[in-house]
Symmetry: C2
Subunit: 247 residues, 2 copies
């Protein structure tokens, strides 16, 4: 028997709906969604009804005074502000990726959570796939030998989705796709890169629609990453070592 975690939800987008649906599959004595908050009260009420959530708030101030763990699922550009509000009010937070729009924003949230001894997690869900454990075991047991290169591509045609076209909504290839690749490279190499060079395209709306990067790590290790919002790629990571490769 675990502790019952009470959740408050900040945001009413598509990911919120997916999150609530997924949470509905977990044991009711472990997770309960108690409140939902958003700027668009119609959508807040619609989701509250659909997922049987008792309390609906307009805006995020009331949720911050509630006594729940908060899932922050607002637009990218607001992640920092809402997460900060929740942490300042003593809430543990699970924030959708990207946690901040800049290194500075993200670091200040991490610092704040540490200072207040609160739990703070970015919603990098792929890290929790069983495949990551299997990969880690394969690498730890020497199955790949010395790893020298990681090649990842992640391309999805999302140029027609408004959020991804709009700079002021925090869209773009780097924040939408790029960070999934970077976290995987970091998961494997552990150390930060010693060099990283990138190039790419900016759309007419001012958002990055492609990004290609070459990374250098200690001891001869390299990586290449490519994200694109104009074409569906094969969306694959390949890890190359002296004893073999996995993709």
């Amino acid at each position: 028997m675990g502790i019952l975690l009470k959740w408050g939800i900040a945001g009413v987008g598509m990911i919120t709906h997916d999150f609530l649906t997924a949470m509905g599959t977990l044991p009711a004595d472990q997770h309960k969604v108690v409140a939902i908050a958003g700027k668009d009260l119609d959508r807040v009420h619609r989701l509250a009804t659909l997922h049987k959530i008792g309390t609906a708030y307009e805006g995020y101030e009331s949720l911050a005074r509630d006594d729940s763990i908060v899932f922050v699922s607002v637009l990218n550009l607001q992640h920092y502000e809402i997460t900060k509000l929740m942490l300042e009010n003593g809430k543990h937070v699970l924030c959708e990726k990207p946690m901040g729009m800049t290194y500075k924003q993200t670091k200040s949230l991490v610092d704040l959570a540490r200072e207040k001894k609160l739990f703070l997690l970015e919603g990098m869900w792929s890290r929790f796939f069983p495949a990551y454990d299997a990969l880690d075991q394969h690498i730890s047991s020497g199955g790949l030998g010395d790893i020298y290169h990681i090649s990842i591509q992640f391309g999805v045609e999302i140029n027609d989705i408004e959020r991804n076209l709009m700079k002021d909504l925090g869209g773009g290839a780097v924040l939408d796709l790029g960070l999934y690749m970077l976290q995987l490279v970091q998961y494997i190499y552990k150390d930060p890169p010693t060099d990283m060079v990138c190039t790419g395209h900016i759309s007419k709306a001012g958002v990055d629609e492609s990004i290609s990067c070459a990374l250098k790590y200690k001891e001869g290790r390299t990586a290449t990453l490519s994200a694109h919002t104009r074409a569906n790629m094969t969306n694959k990571a390949e890890i190359v070592g002296t004893k073999g490769a996995v993709a």
Copy 2:
């Protein structure tokens, strides 16, 4: 019935032997090797005997005065000098890749050949694979839609081969492996890149043992290239378009 081409060979390395073996499979009334030249006279004589070549020269000056087409297969660092010598003496030349060690060297050879109306070809043999014709047809017929990304990796454990370890022999990942990748990207995109950023590792001997590049082309197109001399990669090119991908 074609014209009989008479060949002179400059160089006595492994590729020379492979080239002579391959040429031996062609009709004798189309290609005949008439002379071979090199600095190491023992090796020149050995290859001349093995491949039944009538004339053996020490050094390249005599070959330059012969009346053959010349295959330049010396060490990378000498390609420029020997090719220049042959062109200046009115020879048509097939030169092993890389034709020059720098853009400046290569351009001056191309300019010289044009000025003298001589045939000059770099031994980029992969361009002549039937797969390239098939690829070209597939792309031309719209099979891939609009191409937005090309990802290539080429890694071969050659760090233990002396030629690749020695800077003064013109070794390294870029010249040995990198140019195969770059020529393929150029074959497909046609235009030169608008941006190209690279990173990589230099070995203790001063030779590049890895290179990773991110390239940007017009109209949203990108590419990533990786070469490594410490690990065998899956050695694959993947071309991604809006209608599909080929690898």
